[in-house]
């Protein structure tokens, strides 16, 4: 079984304020995760704000440097001592999808220029073949090349832009795509298009995803594994179905209990 993702004693401490009266924030507290599987998987990391899930994503993306500990993706060092800052080989291993689709691209560049650049610089395609690579990637997310080329961010909807983001992340055929709250800024009616897309890409293109979210329902819907985080610690981890149906940790139970579902009511409402 391949070790898709493994973190070892991953710690991240932020210091705020000066030396004398500053405060420490333990954003990641000895995070030890190990995800092994033969097939590509979708790993969900759920938690509330301040749980450390975004810090974990940033650390794995080398946008933050951990205070101590290390992490590997398919046994290649991703974070920790020795991990070089955004080296090309790293970019072929891990790619991101960010939360705000409108912020993900510069207002002044046509969005396809990012895809083209990724194809040439990261995936190593010849410039003459770059367009094909881009078109293929767009097709796999349900977009036509001619509908995307030359357009700027203000000409797309949030959902379309996010799909363009996904397409760009696919081009270098990374082993792990880290998606940080990819649908929280998208309309509820259109979220499932992106979520179902992740599932399709896992099954058909063999991509693994790390899905960071506060939305347990979508996490339950597509993930194979779920890690529940609270205040920098992983409080529960396991196969998605098991964790959701039979949670062990009190916090997980509390979370599940607090979600406003559309299946049963917390309390009966008074007649008006």
């Amino acid at each position: 079984m391949a070790v898709i993702l493994k973190t070892q004693d991953l710690n991240k401490v932020y210091r705020l304020g000066g030396f004398i009266r500053g405060t420490r924030i333990q954003a990641l507290d000895n995070v030890n995760l190990s995800v092994e599987s033969d097939r590509p998987v979708i790993i969900a990391v759920v938690g509330e704000s301040g749980s450390g899930k975004t810090t974990l994503a940033k650390t794995l993306l080398r946008l933050e440097i951990p205070t101590s500990g290390s992490a590997t993706v398919y046994d290649k060092l991703v974070a920790g001592k020795g991990a070089e800052h955004l080296h090309k080989s790293f970019l072929r291993l891990v790619q991101p999808i960010f939360q705000n689709p409108f912020e993900a691209f510069s207002r002044y560049r046509p969005v396809d220029s990012y895809l083209r650049e990724t194809a040439i610089r990261v995936a190593g395609h010849d410039p003459s073949q770059a367009q094909d690579a881009v078109a293929n990637a767009l097709e796999s997310v349900g977009l036509e090349y001619r509908d995307v080329v030359g357009k700027y961010t203000n000409q797309f909807s949030g959902g379309e832009l996010q799909r363009v983001s996904v397409a760009r992340a696919l081009i270098p055929e990374p082993s792990l795509i880290i998606a940080d709250e990819p649908v929280s800024m998208i309309d509820a009616s259109r979220r499932m298009i992106i979520i179902n897309l992740f599932r399709k890409l896992r099954d058909e293109a063999g991509r693994s995803f790390l899905y960071i979210t506060h939305d347990l329902a979508t996490a339950y819907y597509i993930s194979d594994f779920i890690a529940v985080m609270k205040k920098g610690k992983v409080v529960e981890f396991g196969e998605a179905q098991k964790v959701m149906s039979d949670p062990q940790h009190d916090y997980t139970k509390l979370l599940l209990d607090s979600i406003p579902t559309i299946r049963s009511r917390w309390r009966t409402r008074s007649a008006a």
């Binding site: 946008l63 955004l86 970019l91 960010f98 510069s106 207002r107 650049e117 990261v122 309309d187």
Partner: protein, 301 residues
């Protein structure tokens, strides 16, 4: 926060989905203020560069005409105590002042933008050292230093040196502002996107960060022209610039020297003042006009 939390202006802007890119037409730029400013500048700029070709004589040469001639058809503003035609002198000085202003503005903008973007984006030790440098220059008071320099090298310097000195003292403030803009831009998500697309630092500064700073740079450019002309004029009035060269400041210097105010030769003093005000008005309107156009554009988006 989800995309549902959309305010009215966002909803309206969202409908701009069908615009062709962000430069759909340059027309959004031209509001009334900007148009008037540009017209003034165009008239004065073209006028000051084209007209001197038709001057009957070199305006800076003294003693060409009889002194103190009153305004007439031949001499629109009359002549001054040095026997120069005031009108042609003013035209030439507008040209010189404007040229100085533009050259200085170029110098300042290029240096400050490069330094500011570099420091702001790269950060770390590079930024700290650079900003130390910048802050030192900011705190040096311009006018006193220029006065001292001027007194030391009075009249023995070329016009160019005056320009270089003004650049040297003008770039720092802009650099600081550009740096703070770069600092906020550095945190934005599309910078990370560019890095994950394989861009290197130089490309990111140029292609990702700079466009967001461009509007400020343009306005800063025009403001610097104003600043440069102003500073040179101030120096000239106290006699510390190269006063043989016709500039707006040097006319006033000579006029004051010859007591034009008291001898009733108002033309000598009024002409350059009117020209200066017109020039400054043009620059000011253009600068604030651009500012307003960009702000409106930003507001909609």
């Amino acid at each position: 926060m989800t995309s549902e939390k959309v305010s009215a202006s966002e909803m309206v802007a969202g409908s701009h989905k069908n615009d062709v890119g962000w430069t759909k037409s340059i027309l959004w730029l031209f509001n009334l203020r900007l148009s008037i400013g540009l017209i003034i500048l165009l008239v004065m700029g073209l006028g000051s560069f084209i007209l001197p070709n038709f001057a009957p004589a070199d305006p800076s040469v003294q003693g060409t005409y009889t002194r103190y001639l009153p305004p007439s058809a031949e001499h629109f503003f009359g002549t001054n105590a040095l026997g120069q035609d005031i009108f042609w002198f003013v035209v030439e000085s507008v040209r010189n002042s404007l040229t100085l202003g533009v050259v200085v503005a170029f110098g300042v903008v290029i240096i400050s933008t490069t330094v500011g973007l570099g420091a702001g984006y790269i950060g770390g030790r590079f930024e700290r050292i650079t900003m130390l440098f910048v802050d030192t220059f900011i705190t040096i008071p311009l006018l006193p230093v220029l006065i001292i320099l001027g007194a030391l090298i009075r009249g023995n310097t070329s016009f160019l040196v005056v320009g270089v000195i003004i650049i040297l003292f003008g770039w720092a403030w802009n650099a600081r502002t550009v740096r703070s803009m770069a600092l906020t831009l550095r945190e934005r998500e599309f910078i990370n996107m560019a890095r994950f697309s394989g861009s290197n630092t130089a490309e990111i500064i140029l292609r990702e960060v700079f466009p967001y700073v461009a509007a400020y740079t343009l306005v800063g450019f025009i403001n610097t022209i104003l600043f440069a002309i102003n500073t040179e004029a101030a120096l000239a009035v106290i006699g510390l610039s190269k006063i043989e060269v016709p500039t707006l400041g040097s006319i006033i210097f000579w006029a004051l020297n010859y007591n034009a105010l008291f001898t009733g030769h108002y033309g000598w003093l009024v002409a350059p003042i009117v020209a200066t005000i017109a020039l400054f008005l043009g620059l000011f309107l253009t600068s604030t006009g651009f500012n307003a156009a960009f702000a409106e554009r930003r507001g909609v988006q």
